[in-house]
């Protein structure tokens, strides 16, 4: 009996220390890595992320019939980028990806981004490629039927900016870039590399 009790105590203490181990070493925990190479359709045909290697990429997922969130997001991005020197600005490639592959065409997306700023790339793709890149970057979108609306459907989506470094590694995503300095600080830091 006594022996059993000792054994139980020993067992508990062992299991406790074992439980604590991962906490003190969080680096051993596996975290899903976001980002990566992708190929979508641009107005000139296939467009791959790697085609702009060497530049800092700022990526945004939206759709062209979006009434306010996407235009606002692109306007904000443009305002932030405008503050950079032309040399620094030339090292940044803004990329807008339309998740509305049903309604948007590459040409339409390109026309849409040209309306907001110079040197933007507008992309879209088919269902598979859009779903793939969205999950790669941990974004989200969903087609939602609007029965009573002439729109017929809308696209619920996350509104985030994805910063990708010169080598194509996903750096970080941001919901706000104009009021919070983090984004531009990170951009400046990465540009020095």
């Amino acid at each position: 009996m006594k022996f059993l009790l000792v054994f139980i105590c020993l067992f508990i203490s062992v299991s406790c220390t074992e439980e604590k181990k991962p906490k003190s070493r969080p680096s051993t925990l596996k975290v899903k890595k976001f980002g990566g190479e992708f190929t979508l359709q641009g107005s000139q045909g296939d467009w791959s992320l790697s085609s702009t290697s060497g530049k800092l990429r700022v990526m945004y997922f939206g759709f062209t019939t979006c009434p306010d969130i996407c235009p606002l997001a692109l306007t904000k991005l443009n305002n932030v980028l405008k503050k950079l020197s032309p040399e620094k600005r030339a090292k940044i490639q803004p990329v807008f990806i339309s998740v509305d592959y049903k309604r948007d065409t590459p040409a339409k997306v390109q026309e849409y981004v040209d309306f907001f700023g110079k040197g933007y790339v507008g992309l879209t793709g088919n269902k598979e490629s859009i779903e793939k890149v969205v999950s790669q970057y941990g974004a989200y979108f969903e087609f939602v039927e609007l029965k009573d609306s002439a729109l017929k459907y809308t696209v619920d989506h996350t509104s985030r900016y994805y910063l990708i470094d010169q080598k194509g590694n996903f750096h970080k995503s941001y919901t706000e870039i104009s009021k919070e300095p983090n984004f531009i600080v990170d951009v400046e830091t990465l540009l020095k590399k």
């Binding site: 306007t75 309306f115 729109l151 619920d156």
Partner: protein
């Protein structure tokens, strides 16, 4: 600043004479229509709708010739996801106002009849439950000058 002053002077809000309301009772101010790329068939209107009457007002329709369809929409952010939805009506409380602004309520134009003209004044009629109407107009502006959102 000069531009703002001109805008204010340009928009005398006229309430319909059909009801018992007088022109100062309901106003739609600082209104603007979002400029869109030439091929875009959709846009939206923003502005501040104020109800100075003693009763709550229910906005049920916005009429105009700018687009095939004009709808009242709202936007909600749920767990970081932006969701736009059509609503059948909006209440503007008595002595209160409702601001149509990007990422919130907006008047949505679906199926623009022509390319938006920056020099044109587009006419609209806001229809409220009970037959009250507000005639108003708005011009096209590029988004960005307005950064009063949160």
């Amino acid at each position: 600043m000069k531009k703002l002053l001109i805008m204010i002077l340009l928009f005398p809000m006229l309430a319909s004479s059909s009801g018992t309301m007088t022109e100062s009772h309901i106003t739609f101010e600082s209104q603007w229509i979002k400029a869109v790329p030439a091929s875009s068939k959709m846009s939206a209107m923003f502005g501040k709708l104020t109800n100075n009457t003693g009763k709550d007002l229910k906005l049920i329709e916005v009429k105009g010739t700018i687009a095939k369809n004009i709808e009242i929409h709202t936007h909600k952010k749920v767990n970081g996801v932006m969701k736009m939805r059509k609503v059948s009506s909006l209440i503007i409380p008595s002595k209160g106002s409702l601001e149509f602004k990007p990422m919130h309520e907006h008047i949505m134009f679906i199926g623009l009849k022509n390319k938006l003209d920056k020099s044109k004044k587009y006419e609209f009629t806001f229809v409220f439950d009970g037959g009250v109407e507000l005639k108003t107009s708005a011009t096209v502006k590029k988004m960005g000058g307005h950064s009063h959102h949160h």
